[in-house]
Every structure is written in C-alpha cells, then in structure tokens.
Amino acid sequence: MISYLPRYIFNFIFLVLVQVFVLNNIQFSGFVNPYLYILFILTLPFDIPGWLLLGLAFVLGMTIDLFSNTPGMHSAATVFMAFLRPYLLRAIAPRDDYQPATLPIMNHYGFLWFLKYAFVLVLAHHSFLFFIEVFDFSHFWSTSWRILSSTFFTLVFIFVAQLFSLGKNKQR
C-alpha cells in the first residue's frame, strides 16, 4: 500500500493539472467537457478503506472546484462516484474474485471489465454533476444529451490514458 503512495501523489497532481489547464479549455461542439480527473478515483487500490476513499474524492473534487469557481459541485459528484465504487466492484467481481497485488485497471482485468466499471462510474459522476449544475429537471433532455456526450468523451480520454500507462506496468 505504501509503495503505491508516490505514484498516486503523482497521479493526483498530474490529473488535476491536465484537467484544469488543458481539458477545461477544450469544448467539443460548444458544451461537451471531458472530466478526466476522476480516473484517479477509478484506479485506487481494491482494499482502500472507505473513509480514505471518500476523503480523497472530496479533496480531489474540491481542488477542481477551486479552479473552476463551482464550490461543492465537483466534490459532491466525485464523492457520490466514490461511494458507488465499492458496491459496483462487488457486483462485477470476476468469478475467482480480485487477485492480491492487482489494481482496478484495464491492464489487469481486461478491456470489457474495465469498460463496464468505468462506464457506470463515469455516467454516475456526470449525471450527478450536470444535474447539480442545472439544479432542476426542466431541461431534462438537453441535460441528458450533455451527460451522454460528455461521458463518451471522458471514456475515450480514460482509455487513452490507460493505454499510455500500459508500457510502464508490463513487467509486473
């Protein structure tokens, strides 16, 4: 667990910087904004204690909020996603359960498993985030469209990021 520490600190800083300086400035077709930073929550170890998971999610969301003038929105959505994570992991566990010394990444559990895992959590995060942002259900369809298109782009970015980390972990 301790040996992961520097790697996760690096991940945290790197993802926040990429999110704030690059992705927040990219808008496909006007309003689609990918949120790559939640990859940090996705890749945390299986056996992370619940309080630490929620705490990290809150700190991460708050950091993003600080830079985008949206106090509470990203932190609420990220904590919600982190809350769902243990239940989802239990629901989609492989037949022989998770192996020790593995992480919930594409490299260790395959493309399809990771797609299922990432899709549900990203969709949960984006739905929560966009509905808090609008704060009512009267624009339901336009908001849903934003959620779906943003989810798609976030997933694309997450998979690209996972491919880049592929070479690094091959020796494992």
């Binding site: 927040n24 689609v32 969301g61 600080l66 830079f67 003038n69 509470g72 336009s142």
Partner: protein, 276 residues
C-alpha cells in the same frame, strides 16, 4: 451509548458519505454567500497565481488574434478623437458630464481564466484592489459588454460573465429606446434572450441592442449585440427576442473595467426613494 457507537462504526461509510454530500450541497446552495469570502473562488491568491502563469504561456499562441483585437480597438478609439469630428457647436463629449467632471474611468485588464460551457460561467482578471477594482464594476471588451465584477482580491478579480444564467443586464433597443432585460439561457455562447420589450414597439432583425445606463454599472449605449429573431410569445404582451452577442466569449483576451465615480450618489438617491 455503546450501541450508538457500534452503529456509527458499522455504517461509517454511508454516514461519512451523507455528511460530505450534505456539506457539498450546502456549499452549492450557499454559493452566493461563499462568493464573498474569496477563498473559494479562483480570485484567491494561489489559484490566481497559477492561472496567470499558465495564461502567460498560452497567450503566445494567440498573439495574432490579440494583435487584431488591439488594432481594431485602436481604430475605434482614433475614431473618437476630437480630430475625427467636424467641429460644431452642439458637440458634447460622451465621457464628460455637464460639470466636465469625469464620470467613467476605464482600466485595462487581462483575462486569465474563462469558460463558456457551464451554466454559471465566470471570468478571472489579473487586476484587483491594488489597481482600484471593486465589486459591482462593469466589464466590457472592445466589442461590447462582458460582465460584472463580483469578487476582488488584492491582485485578481472574478467577473460574473454575461454567459451566466444568474446575471441580468438592463438593456434597450438603440433605435427606439424601448428597454428590457437581457439574460442568457444557458444554451450556446453566441446568443442571449431579451425580454420585456412590449408588443407595440417596432423591432426588426439586425437592430442594435445596447446598455440602458439605468443601473449605474455601464454607461449608456455600450453594444451588447444585434437582434437575431423576433417572436410573439403566446398570450403575452412582450416579444421574445433572441440577440446575437457582439462579444466572442471564446476569444476574450483583453477587457476594460468601468468605474463609475457617481455610482454612490445615484444608488444612495435611489435607495431613499425605494424606502418610501
């Protein structure tokens, strides 16, 4: 008591989740209160510093656009110089009032953070109280109205963008002087809606929409946009007017902050009347 502690320990995950969500929601709902304590916004010193550094780098990629913008503004300002008017007796300067005391002060500032894709968009500027900027000042660019300063720190300030569904701007049709209020609908960043223009007014596509000057924030007659479509709402006595904004919010680089030296006087007077 022991049972209670055991209950908390067993369900600590769910309870902690609910607690953090409550806190986050309180932040969202009380947003306007928190704006005042600038710690939570990007005008706080740390975030402002980093955004400024990153903006310095990205500005190099935009030099051509910025030059064009500045050249356009130069041309516009030159057009306002005395030499460009024929001398006539009934010419009055717009900026100076009848006591020939300067009413509006303009301060240039650079945009260091900006967004157009959210429901509540904000802009961060690189000038703050050190440069005389105060909350409530209007912000314009060479092309038109940009927003209103909400929050100021020593060296940075945040501006509530015109592209924010919480902002309404008092505006009027330049041709006919009918006034209404302009509001963004949260959809595309190029258009906003003008409401409150009565049915008996004549409105045609292409009419200029300018600031009304009633609010003591913007001087009268600053461009906001042009009328794109005019529709008669069902059963209402007002038009639904869609306005194409003159400012391209995606390419905002330099803006001017407007200080009104006589704002206090006007607000004070209006408050007396309101209390009657």
């Amino acid at each position: 008591m022991r049972n209670f502690i055991r209950f908390i320990l067993r369900h600590h995950f769910v309870l902690l989740f609910l607690l953090i969500e409550l806190f986050s929601f309180a932040l969202v709902v009380n947003y306007n209160d928190y704006q005042r304590s600038s710690w939570f916004s990007s005008s706080n010193r740390f975030a402002g510093f980093i955004l400024n550094k990153s903006n310095n780098a990205s500005q190099y990629f935009m030099l051509r656009e910025i030059n064009e913008e500045l050249a356009r503004e130069n041309a516009y300002l030159r057009g306002q110089m005395d030499e460009s008017f024929r001398i006539s007796k009934d010419y009055f300067s717009v900026v100076f009032d009848s006591l020939s005391q300067q009413q509006y002060v303009y301060r240039a500032a650079k945009v260091i953070n900006n967004s157009v894709n959210r429901h509540f968009n904000y802009i961060t500027l690189d000038k703050g109280t050190d440069n005389g900027i105060e909350p409530g000042m209007g912000v314009i660019s060479a092309r038109g109205v940009v927003g209103i300063v909400t929050n100021v720190s020593k060296r940075y300030s945040t501006v509530i963008s015109l592209l924010n569904t919480r902002l309404k701007i008092s505006s009027k049709l330049k041709e006919t002087n009918f006034f209404g209020s302009l509001e963004w609908d949260g959809q595309t960043y190029e258009y906003a809606n003008l409401s409150g223009i009565p049915r008996h007014a004549t409105v045609s596509v292409g009419d200029l929409v300018v600031t009304s000057g009633y609010s003591a924030i913007f001087p009268e007659g600053i461009l906001i946009g042009t009328v794109e479509t005019v529709e008669k709402g069902k059963g209402e006595s007002f038009y639904d007017i869609r306005v194409k904004l003159s400012v391209d919010f995606k390419r905002l680089a330099f803006v001017e902050v407007i200080g009104n030296n006589m704002k206090e006087e006007q607000v004070e007077l209006e408050n007396i009347t309101k209390n009657d």
